[in-house]
Amino acid sequence: MLSLLEALATPHGVDRYLELVHPMLTVRAVRAQVTAVHRQTPDTVTLALRPTRTWKGFDAGQYLRVSVLIDGVLRSRCYSPANAATKGDHIELTVKAHPDGLVSGYLHANAKPGLVVDISQADGTFRLPAARPDRLLLISGGSGITPVMSMLRTLCAEGHTGDVTFLHYAYTENDVPYLRELRALADEHENVHLVLAYTEATDGDLKGLFSHEHLAQAEPRYKEAQTYLCGPGGLMRGVRELYDELGLGERLHTEEFAPAPVAADEEATGVVTFARSDTAGDNDGTTLLEQAEAAGINAEHGCRMGICFSCTQVKRHGRVRNVLSGDVSTEEDEEIQLCVNVPVGDVTIEL
């Protein structure tokens, strides 16, 4: 039946007709509708979403891409659901409004029940292994709390009995999303230990930035634990360095989020990576098409002057300058024309 409909709807596909009736009516497209909005802390917004039936669910720790329409342009960002993965027909996102964050700022200001957003299927290797570890240490900072919150909730929902230590870093108590729930979970479950570290207040379990002492205080048997970490760059680096020093690198699992592109630079710097070709080289300041060709990659192209769009590829991340307009762009997962863009610093192209 579906293949007959698809044959009738060719070349556009059934969804292109159904969406004119209602955007949540889909056979292939994955979307989600906001069902509730609340603000736990001043700079975050928590959204409850109901995905279409095409959504395949997620594993605790994974992320999905959310796309919203801002001034005619579909902007995408990745967020990790914070709810238990056992509830596959439900997505809860806690989004922190970054000062320069287009999508987060939009959601923080405009999300209301009824809003329909495009989402992707869940992805990412940062997730609890199917065989749950006996001893877990979940470390997070700021809005990096969401994937580990999902892990904690999932474990509790499953009735997991192994020890789980939840170490979270925030400026102050007011900046901890899910504070009440975290405390309740720690009270209800003997195996759950909550440790809150505040960098700008003294009323937490720990004070200041992550350190070896913090680690030992939060979970004295950290050497036996599997550690899952998600947070801002500084925290990530601090934990990574310490674990490497202690020879525990293999027991640390991390999720990078919001990697900041390097600052604009007049001179050609950085490394240009062509991900699918598994090739990388120093940025020589020429266009990405020329650099791909110099690296021996047979990149599809046409006019070499920015009009025919044959060379369009996805830039995973990094900063590029359009030589025609002079505009600099830092968007992630952005389609760019290789023939008229030069890298500014580190750039990764899906080619």
């Binding site: 007959l4 044959a7 009738l8 060719t10 070349p11 556009h12 292109r16 007709y17 004119l20 796309s67 329409l69 001034d71 005619g72 342009v73 579909l74 902007r75 995408s76 046409g302 006019c303 002057m305 920015g306 009009i307 025919c308 769009f309 044959s310 369009t312 025609l324 307009s325 952005e334 389609e335």
Partner: protein, 370 residues
């Protein structure tokens, strides 16, 4: 007809900068309105399509059949021209919408998007009107420029043009095989494997939909629906052929040689695009139904700007032409079509070479005010 450069190097430079600045201004202004516009057109197109398919079920009632054909024809025209052609140019890529993206979009015609984008966006739009490079001059089957060497084959010029008009969607599809180059041995049959595979796949799906599935679903109305679908495809073919042939073939449109376009500057490239294209005047509705290809000059200058912007910038482009003393070739549909038809007939015969000055009355050559 080879032409003489009408501008000094400084003027070319200035022209390039002026047009670059205009382009940037429009790009900076793109936003919600442009998205709303194209989505409105998409909604109309899908609406016409559903209505057209539905009315075929009442095909026993002649007015319903006619209305169905009209609606389906309009759907295909909008899909191919204002939506398909323009989306596949990357005009809406800035919206980052996967459904209206040049790499993802397929149109409701047998030519596969990927094949067409290569021959159109790259070959035709980059080498516009360069003899020997732009394969859209006569599409490899017609003689549309006196500089194309005559041979007895071209006696059939009007017949070939007529057949191309009737079977236009198939002509557009087969264009990518580059049959003339296969015959001359410049291109090997084995090189067309990918192109042929896509044609086969897309052609089959389109044929199945229009000529088998929808007629079969209408049960006793099988032949009436089949006839309706054939007619709608035919109407679209004739319309698209007419609009497209008015883009580069009216009298006065200039062609260029490979030598004179070597090492072209940006300004010279713009110059070639302006002199190599012709517009059609008409109402706003006419412009939408032509996919704004009635603004062929603006389209060739800025193939990646959303087409709804072409009428907006047309007065400025015309003023720029006036300033530099360049022709701005425009006229009503009847005038431009007549001019194209005359050329198709005239070039069927060997004839002597024409001087490069355009005949009066067909082209408005605008001179700077004295």
């Amino acid at each position: 007809m080879a032409h003489q450069a009408k501008l000094t190097p400084e003027q070319f430079e200035e022209l390039g900068k002026e047009l670059d600045a205009l382009r940037k201004r429009v790009i900076d202004d793109l936003g919600e309105e442009d998205r709303k516009y194209i989505y409105d057109v998409v909604k109309w197109q899908r609406g016409f399509e559903v209505a057209g398919r539905g009315l075929m079920y009442a095909g026993f009632f002649p007015p319903a059949w006619l209305a169905g054909v009209a609606a389906l024809s309009l759907s295909k025209i909008l899909d191919n021209m204002e939506i398909g052609h323009n989306v596949m140019h990357g005009q809406y890529d800035w919206m980052r919408d996967p459904h209206l993206n040049s790499r993802m979009f397929e149109w409701d015609t047998v030519a596969p998007a990927e094949n067409w984008k290569h021959s159109h966006n790259y070959i035709h739009h980059t080498f516009t009107n360069i003899l020997g490079k732009d394969r859209d001059i006569g599409y490899g089957v017609l003689r549309m420029d006196p500089e194309q060497k005559w041979n007895p084959y071209y006696l059939g010029n009007p017949v070939y043009a007529f057949l191309l008009m009737v079977f236009f969607q198939w002509g557009v599809m087969l264009h990518d095989l580059e049959a003339d180059r296969l015959l001359s041995g410049e291109r090997k049959w084995s090189e067309t494997k990918g192109v042929r595979g896509r044609m086969w796949h897309k052609g089959l799906k389109q044929t199945l939909k229009d000529y088998v599935l929808f007629p079969a679903l209408s049960g006793p109305m099988f032949f009436s629906t089949l006839a309706g679908n054939v007619t709608a495809n035919f109407v679209r073919n004739v319309w698209a052929f007419a609009i497209i042939f008015c883009g580069h073939f009216p009298t006065g449109v200039e062609s260029f040689t490979e030598e004179e376009t070597e090492n072209e500057t940006r300004g010279q490239w713009y110059y070639r695009q302006m002199l190599g294209s012709a517009n059609i005047t008409g109402s706003p509705l006419f412009h939408i139904l032509s996919g704004n290809l009635s603004h062929q000059i603006e389209h060739h200058l800025f193939p990646d700007l959303p087409a709804r912007r072409y009428p907006q910038i047309a007065p400025e482009i015309r003023a720029i032409c006036e300033k530099y003393g360049l022709p701005y070739n425009t006229g009503g549909l009847t005038k431009q079509l007549t001019s194209v038809a005359k050329k198709i007939f005239k070039l069927a015969l060997p004839g002597k070479k024409q001087p490069s000055t355009p005949p009066s009355g067909t082209v408005e050559v605008l001179r700077p005010a004295a």
